[in-house]
Point group: C2
Chain length 126, copies 2
DNA sequence: CATCAATATTGACAGATGTCGTTGTCTGGC
DNA sequence: GCCAGACAACGACATCTGTCAATATTGATG
């Protein structure tokens, strides 16, 4: 499920001038992958994800997140919803509080995507 | 340059419940990183990058790219400009033709970012 | 039950984005 | 010098997005 695109065979990739990926993305694959990146492509949401990831257990309460921004509560709530609907965050309610947790699989998928699109797999020394 | 955020010490990360990253992203870091993702967060641009990456040498002529889509030439040109301005693609003119090439460093940066935000570093088994 | 605190939902609005048609700018060939 | 082809820039337009204020919902508590 995290295999969005087949990478070219490692052996082949090492050779001088072979393509970076074995075949281009299909339109459907692109349509499926774009929403994940879109959800992440906002400074506020990036920080939200980062904040949650930097908490112990990779989960954080909305009340903590609200305080980290100068934005209104509904705005934060909206961004969290966006991330949740994209499948990047899990939600769980505990009493009055709501906790959001990083969903690792989604980030793995994006990682695979990027390794695919560019070169990021094994850190090219630029 | 590709180090957008410091990961938690590997040693610590292995321990049960320590944070995934050593510290959250700053607002400035997020503002800097978001445009890269935003440039990539579009189905057409994803396919463009993918198409270029799947060409030998990781470069492709605009004329080839235009034919792969049902969109107008100006639209493709616009998307290529977006990717170029985000630093994801390099441009070079050869006679009448213009070639776009994957810029690996930019993708490395995004890769580091994601390893940071989520878990994608070492393939978590979901 | 009344009230308060934590989140979500709704509605509104300015600004960004994707697309197109048209026009402009090169470059190479006649 | 002129024309045709490859690509970029411009202007227009509909849609999407981020934000807020106001309101609703839900759970704990007195």
């Amino acid at each position: 499920m995290s295999k969005l695109l087949p990478l070219a065979d490692p052996v082949e990739s090492v050779a001088c001038c072979s393509p970076l990926v074995s075949r281009p993305m299909t339109a459907d694959e692109a349509e499926a992958a774009a929403p994940l990146l879109k959800a992440l492509a906002d400074p506020v949401r990036l920080r939200l994800v980062s904040l949650i990831a930097s908490h112990a257990d990779g989960e954080a309460c909305v009340c903590d997140l609200n305080d980290a921004f100068d934005l209104s509560q509904p705005t934060i709530s909206h961004h969290l919803k966006t991330l949740h609907e994209a499948g990047l965050l899990d939600r769980s309610k505990e009493g009055v509080w709501v906790y959001y947790r990083i969903r690792p699989a989604a980030f793995d998928a994006i990682g695979a995507l990027l390794a695919t699109s560019g070169t990021a797999t094994s850190g090219s020394r630029s």
